[in-house]
């Protein structure tokens, strides 16, 4: 679906310049197995004599637990164990960052779907029936579901309802502009909706430990949480990463991994769990629903003077990734624009709504929808083109973020905007037969050409790359070469994002061997950290490169010494080693002479600071930018929207794998489109409604627009390995705002809520 245009390395490599190494479109090694259905995912795992787990979850968003009676469940034939909070030998609480979430609810339940007990039985139906037979007496409480009311509400957690507050102040609060626009924006609850079932297998070990076979995206963190919960030393728990069927956030709900391990330890048998889609929707973290109030001041030429914002993230009942989501929301509240005065109040609060956490571009996406809405308002007020107002304010390298941090990395925002603005517009539907036009509503939908309006909208987005605010970002990798074949050992998880392909390319590039394997990840390997925020492109691929270079030196040093030249004068390609002058020519295999060479290396970028009490600090290692121009068709009577084309220009540092990069951008844009037009997990009164893919539709190929990559700006980021930037998150962040801007242009309606509901895109007939 994507079209890559123009001259440059992208087009060249697609034309097949080289088949391996950095810059080549190396295909993923597992593509064939995945296509054929032979790739083993967690749901396919099996162990001799395994038991099946089921989890009992709260039907209420807020209640006191008066009594739990497991006697009936235990008495059922085939049931091998029933566990509750009483059966947690280690830490009763867990959580990423803050341990504020109980493994099993004890006195109170704080959200619909919170785990209360778990069962292991010899048949999955028995396990589910037994879970249903557990008697829980609740005293139902009024849930806190309006985040604005969380401040004054009774604390729903001992840690209080305010998870974090960041007041950012930058510049002069008294500054005023000649024009002022205000807006109120809402962003709904997007589910990461990993397509493969959430599943896992726990196998007890003879030494009293346990192995967890799960689709973890952060195996070491999951192991540590599990070990603490099980009351075991970390080395007694091993997490083995199984095939990950897609992940755009923290994939697995730890509410499942922990009971699984506890049940395996209790019964001494392997225990398997496969979540239903409903459980998946209830259990894992969602994108933070957000409420945003904005006031933009600008001068008469449309140059921004001051941005004031209030941002309220609904964290659900537990902290999870809310603190870092809030930091991103506050820091990027004004977007990739130069603003001399910025004042933001950001809060993340607890509610009894479904849990929020890490989903690609958290924090940054919500504010993008709002600040870009403001830019459109400003343009309308000043009578300027929306792209022009943006152009007058774009950020560049050397400018300051509202956090006081100087942008030191490439920030080609103006160039990106120009690229999408100047790109040709897609044609209008044509052809004699109107019934064949693809209109809003689909091929056989109700669309009527006379009621369709086309709109064009722009958005600029930014995200940070790597964890922020002092997170120790480090990864370790090992490279081995033997018999002319290289192996990479790194616990960075391949989630479908392409890390293993990239690792192979890096080794191919450095060692000149084509045959590179990447071993599956587990916690016996050194930690590589979470698969999030483009980390593995930076730290893990960086570690692989260093390790490969060390191997290269070990390989070439003896040769260089023998021939009296420096290692730098030797090159390796296609398994052959040659000297610059062509005098020396041998092969890698010959040089190795049956030996194995190993090296292990780490990559750890420069440290960052936590935002201080004024929201100031050098919190980010790197930034990535994107410009999107959306073209939509809107049926202004039915309010149905079809995204016709999204033209993308992105700041990528360097193209490492053109095809993979295009796929990442397409995927990101499509996820953003879901947020823009259809995805919102509804939970009125805290109770999740229709937790299935009929009630929560995802974009399909027919919903997805043409994703047209009009420009990839390759300005290398000198501090990043290969100069490359992470590419997946920023299109997710930017696409929803661009679609909203286009619907605004088509309808003249304010469009201040995501996803855009049909009623917001209807133009009422003038009477």
């Amino acid at each position: 679906m994507s079209i890559i245009e123009g001259p440059g390395p992208v087009a060249d490599t697609l034309a097949g310049a080289s088949a391996h190494g950095i810059g080549a479109s190396v295909p993923p090694a597992d593509a064939l197995a995945k296509t054929r259905g032979t790739y083993p995912y967690a749901a396919d795992l099996w162990a001799e004599g395994l038991l099946w787990a089921a989890v009992l979850r709260s039907p209420h968003p807020s209640a006191r637990i008066v009594r739990i009676d497991t006697a009936d469940a235990r008495a059922m034939p085939g049931v091998r164990a029933v566990i509750t909070h009483e059966d947690v030998p280690g830490d009763a609480m867990h959580g990423r960052g803050v341990a504020d979430r109980p493994v099993f609810a004890q006195d109170v339940v704080r959200h619909h779907g919170e785990p209360i007990a778990a069962v292991a039985a010899d048949h999955p139906d028995t396990a589910r029936l037994a879970a249903a037979a557990i008697l829980v007496e609740y005293e139902v409480l009024d849930p806190v579901t309006d985040p604005e009311k969380a401040f004054a509400a009774e604390p729903l957690h001992p840690d209080g309802n305010l998870i974090r507050h960041i007041p950012l102040s930058f510049g002069d609060p008294e500054a005023v502009g000649e024009v002022v626009v205000e807006g109120l924006y809402r962003v709904g609850r997007q589910d990461p909706a990993p397509i493969g079932a959430e599943a896992g297998l726990a196998v007890p070990r003879p030494d009293g430990g346990v192995e967890l076979y799960i689709a973890s995206t952060d195996p070491h963190a999951d192991r540590d949480i599990a070990a603490a919960c099980f009351g075991l030393e970390a080395d007694r728990v091993k997490v083995v990463v199984t095939g990950v069927p897609g992940a755009t956030g923290d994939r697995e709900d730890s509410g499942v991994q922990l009971p699984l391990g506890l049940l395996a330890l209790k019964t001494g048998c392997p225990v398997k769990f496969v979540a239903t889609r409903e459980e998946s929707f209830l259990g894992h973290a969602h994108r933070h629903p957000t409420l945003l109030r904005y006031r933009h001041h600008a001068d008469a030429e449309g140059r921004l003077v001051k941005v004031e914002a209030q941002i309220l993230l609904d964290a659900g009942a537990y902290a999870d990734a809310s603190s870092s989501a809030l930091a991103a929301a506050v820091a990027f509240a004004a977007g990739p624009y130069v603003v001399p005065h910025v004042f933001v109040e950001g809060w993340a609060v607890r509610t009894n709504n479904p849990p929020s956490g890490h989903v690609r571009g958290e924090g940054a996406m919500q504010v993008c929808a709002a600040y870009e809405g403001q830019m459109d308002k400003l343009a309308a007020k000043l009578g300027l083109e929306p792209a022009e107002v943006r152009m007058r304010n774009v950020l560049a390298t050397g400018d300051l973020l509202p956090t006081g941090q100087t942008v030191t990395c490439p920030a080609p925002v103006g160039e990106l905007l120009k690229a999408v603005r100047d790109a040709d517009l897609p044609p209008l539907p044509d052809g004699e037969d109107e019934s064949q036009w693809l209109l809003p509503g689909g091929t056989s939908g109700a669309g009527e050409p006379g009621a369709v309006r086309r709109g064009v909208g722009y958005a600029l987005g930014m995200v940070h790359v790597l964890g922020a605010e002092g997170t120790d970002e480090v990864s370790t990798a090992t490279v081995r070469i033997h018999d002319g074949r290289a192996t990479v050992i790194c616990a960075a998880v391949e989630t479908g994002q392409g890390f293993t392909t990239l690792a192979r390319q890096v080794v191919q590039e450095v060692l000149g061997v084509e045959d590179v394997r990447v071993l599956p990840a587990d916690t016996d390997q050194p930690p590589a950290g979470p698969a999030a925020r483009g980390r593995h492109t930076w730290v893990s691929a960086g570690a692989v490169e260093r390790a490969a270079k060390m191997v290269r030196t070990q390989l070439l040093q003896p040769l260089a010494a023998k021939f009296g030249m420096s290692v730098e004068l030797l090159s390796i390609a296609d398994g052959k080693i040659t000297s610059y002058d062509g005098v020396l020519s041998t092969t890698v295999a010959e040089t190795l002479d049956g030996k194995e060479l190993w090296a292990t290396a780490q990559c750890r970028p420069h440290p960052t600071d936590r935002l201080d009490e004024n929201g100031q600090g050098d919190a980010f290692v790197g930034l990535a930018f994107c410009a999107i121009r959306a073209v939509v068709d809107v049926d202004i009577e039915l309010g149905s929207v079809r995204a016709v084309e999204l033209a993308v220009a992105q700041d990528v540092g360097r193209v490492l794998n053109p095809r993979q990069l295009a796929a990442r951008i397409e995927a990101g844009v499509t996820q953003g489109l879901g947020m823009a037009l259809m995805e919102d997990l509804r939970a009125p009164g805290g109770v999740v409604k229709r937790p299935n893919f009929t009630g929560y539709p995802l974009p399909t190929a027919l919903d997805a627009p043409d994703v047209r990559i009009v420009k990839l700006v390759e300005e290398r980021d000198v501090v990043a390995p290969f100069g490359a930037k992470a590419v997946s998150a920023v299109p997710v962040v930017t696409a929803p705002a661009a679609v909203a801007a286009a619907v605004r242009a088509a309808t003249g309606r304010p469009v201040n809520r995501l996803p855009i509901r049909p009623q917001a895109a209807i133009v009422k007939p003038q009477v």
């Binding site: 995912y41 749901a43 048949h123 999955p124 139906d125 589910r128 493969g196 079932a197 599943a199 496969v274 239903t276 889609r277 409903e278 693809l438 809003p440 509503g441 689909g442 091929t443 056989s444 939908g445 109700a446 009527e448 009621a451 009577e637 039915l638 309010g639 149905s640 929207v641 079809r642 995204a643 037009l677 259809m678 299935n692 009929t694 539709p697 974009p699 399909t700 190929a701 027919l702 919903d703 049909p758 009623q759 209807i762």
Partner: protein
């Protein structure tokens, strides 16, 4: 993914004729018929249903096609949506073909059947408003022989399927006049109807029949609006209508299907739905009389 062996039914029968199927059901009263499985297996996978035995209808060739009988078409209950969507079928019953083309993604339409759509009787069943507008009848095969009844009697539960009965055929009058089916889903890709409108012109009976799907548990027929608009049409002439009449018809249909509640203001969602139904009905009539 969650269809593990333990959930599959113990007994599966695959009869090759209707009679055999009826016998199989009679022999195993706990057995459930399955056609394409697109509704049934979803219920099994989510744990809502654990059929003890299945009678598969996929091999009964007599219900997988259609035949003609006295100015009507006799459609087999095993016709798939994909088959009904093809041009030859569309030439016969355009509105049903349009509904079939919109009934889910291609994988589902290749398997899902007309009979399954009727038996499931979901509010969003796309064939249902079309059958209601066409005043179709269903022929049921059972242990006591066949019987025929209006599809609306089946859908409303007035005269439900009896134990051991199978949907065998659907009788549809051939009208040789324009008919339309329009569906609003709120998205561009395949989706369930938010509202749908089937509208058929019946020149022989000088009727316009319209049925609105997805807004109520069963398809609704706005009879007064139908009669009103039929009265405006010059049946011996061009059969065209002024745009204002189409608009008024749309409003009429929408108000009939989503009525005002005395003393209370219509909630925003209902207002939006009414607007959608009005636009769909207006467009449907406009296209039928174009």
């Amino acid at each position: 993914m969650s269809t593990y062996a333990g959930q599959a039914a113990e007994h599966v029968t695959l009869p090759s004729s209707l009679d055999e199927a009826v016998e199989a059901l009679a022999a195993m009263p706990s057995a459930v018929p399955v056609a394409g499985g697109t509704d049934l297996m979803a219920a099994v996978n989510s744990g809502l249903l654990r059929p003890a035995a299945l009678v598969g209808l996929g091999r009964i060739s007599e219900i997988r096609g259609w035949q003609y009988a006295d100015g009507a078409a006799l459609l087999g209950a095993g016709l798939t949506h994909a088959r009904m969507g093809r041009p030859d079928f569309a030439a016969l019953i355009p509105a049903l073909a349009a509904a079939a083309r919109s009934a889910g993604p291609p994988q589902i339409r290749n398997a899902g059947t007309l009979g399954g759509n009727i038996a499931t009787a979901a509010p969003t069943g796309d064939a249902l408003p079309v059958l209601a507008a066409l005043e179709a009848s269903v022929i049921l095969a059972g242990p006591e022989g066949d019987r025929e009844l209006p599809v609306s009697h089946l859908l409303t539960g007035m005269d439900p399927l009896r134990p051991g009965e199978l949907l065998a055929f659907v009788r549809i009058p051939l009208l040789h006049a324009p008919q339309t089916f329009l569906k609003a889903t709120g998205r561009t890709g395949p989706g369930r109807a938010v509202a749908s409108v089937a509208l058929v012109v019946d020149p022989a009976r000088r009727q316009v029949r319209c049925s609105v799907g997805a807004v109520a548990p069963v398809p609704l027929r706005p009879l007064e609006a139908e009669q009103w608009v039929a009265g405006l049409i010059d049946w011996d002439g061009e059969r065209s209508l002024a745009p204002e009449a189409c608009t008024a018809f749309g409003e009429y249909v929408a108000a009939a299907c989503i009525p005002d509640q005395p003393g209370v203001e219509l909630p925003p969602a209902a207002v939006q739905l009414r607007r959608t139904v009005a636009a769909l009905s207006r467009r449907a009539l406009g296209r039928a009389l174009a």
